[in-house]
């Protein structure tokens, strides 16, 4: 009897511990909130909402007007001295790996600033030149309406925390929205080759079929 009750209690405890771990880490896949967020986005594929953008040429339009083109997105603020320049530099490498005609017709690169107070149209226009963006196939835009901005950041799980020095701490990734306006993939922004391979497969692979 003693041995039995001992092993039952051991079994139950193991079960409880494993269950808590299982639920808490989405079945041992997400050990940080960031991976959990990315996994969830890829699984749920949320629709992009009709939010108004203002780009570096001062044009205003919503995401819905861009429908039919795939989007390759990043979120930044231009006063950032750490992650953002690297993120954009990597984006540039992905951008330059694609042939001209694809960039003209099928996909649009879009950098969105989450700091509309400082990132005005002029600031964005200067910033885009550092990374070889032409303002057309690769646009830089801000979302002037703060409520809309928050809505978009929440939908994409981008968390932006102001630090004490006038900057922000934020998570970074490449986001891919397909031609139907669904967010279908979130890519590691440090893995340039991975992102290139993904886009080539997505855009050129379908052409060959």
């Amino acid at each position: 009897m003693k041995v039995l009750s001992k092993s039952i209690s051991l079994f139950v405890v193991c079960l409880i511990v494993i269950t808590i771990w299982w639920i808490g880490t989405d079945g041992f896949t997400g050990f940080t909130q960031e991976t959990a967020r990315v996994n969830k986005l890829i699984e749920e594929k949320p629709m992009i909402m009709p939010i108004t953008l203002e780009d570096s040429k001062g044009r205003m339009y919503t995401f819905h007007e861009l429908k039919g083109r795939r989007l390759f997105l990043t979120f930044i603020y231009t006063s950032c001295g750490t992650v953002c320049p690297q993120l954009e530099k990597n984006m540039q490498q992905v951008y330059e790996s694609l042939p001209r005609e694809i960039l003209d017709e099928k996909i649009m690169f879009l950098t969105i600033s989450f700091d509309p107070d400082r990132d005005t149209v002029e600031v964005l226009d200067t910033y885009r030149q550092y990374f070889g963006s032409d303002g057309e196939t690769w646009r830089m835009a801000r979302i002037a309406n703060k409520l809309e901005l928050k809505e978009l950041l929440d939908a994409f799980g981008v968390i932006v925390l102001p630090d004490r020095y006038g900057g922000f701490t934020h998570n970074s990734a490449f986001y891919y929205v397909d031609e139907n306006g669904r967010l279908t993939n979130v890519l590691d922004y440090k893995d340039i080759e991975g992102a290139q391979a993904f886009l080539h497969n997505e855009l050129l692979g379908s052409e060959m079929k």
Binding site: K2, S5, K6, S9, L10, V12, V13, C14, I16, V17, I18, I20, W21, G24, T25, G30, F31, T32, Q33, E34, A36, R37, I159, L161, D163, T169, H170, N171
Partner: protein, 172 residues
């Protein structure tokens, strides 16, 4: 008993939760240890006797390591269930450890202790060195402070290990 409950009450107040959870350092190194202390301070009147020592230990170690996963800290902020789990499980861990550890052999304690040294060293390295934000809800420079604290803890734990090994102490 009173001390333990008072501490628990203080920790559960919205204001103290808000203050402690707004910084990574206080969340990790003040709130969590204090919750653990609530369990440690909870008195056990009679001598604790049970056959289920190992069940207790597995529970303690399994959940303690669970709270070391960066994700859980983030989740506790946004997910109510995780927050509730935190306020229930940590005092429980403290209590179970308090009543169980004396029943463990020197070897088991030494093993758990040395594994903790390795873990703290790993966390010190991870939090100090990695350029990536580990907890989405906390600033990256807070992460460095956490790493530095882990480093200090590691150094002290190594020091204690050296003391036991070289100067000698009845407890291992």
């Amino acid at each position: 008993m009173r001390l333990s409950l008072l501490l628990y009450f203080l920790l559960i107040l919205p204001i103290s939760r808000e203050v402690l959870e707004s910084y990574m350092v206080t969340h990790m190194f003040v709130q969590l240890p204090l919750l653990y202390a609530v369990g440690m301070l909870f008195p056990n009147r009679k001598e604790y006797k049970t056959r289920h020592i190992w069940s207790n230990i597995i529970f303690v170690l399994g959940l303690l390591s669970f709270w070391m996963v960066p994700r859980t800290l983030d989740d506790a902020l946004v997910n109510t269930y995780t927050e509730i789990l935190k306020f229930i499980s940590l005092p429980l861990i403290g209590y179970l450890w308090k009543v169980s550890w004396r029943h463990l052999s020197e070897m088991t304690l030494a093993f758990i202790y040395t594994q903790l040294v390795s873990m703290c060293g790993l966390f010190a390295w991870l939090y100090l060195d990695t350029p990536i934000q580990i907890c989405n809800n906390y600033l990256i420079n807070e992460q460095k402070i956490v790493g530095a604290i882990y480093l200090v803890i590691t150094i002290f734990m190594c020091g204690y290990l050296l003391k036991i090994a070289f100067i000698g102490n009845k407890k291992t």
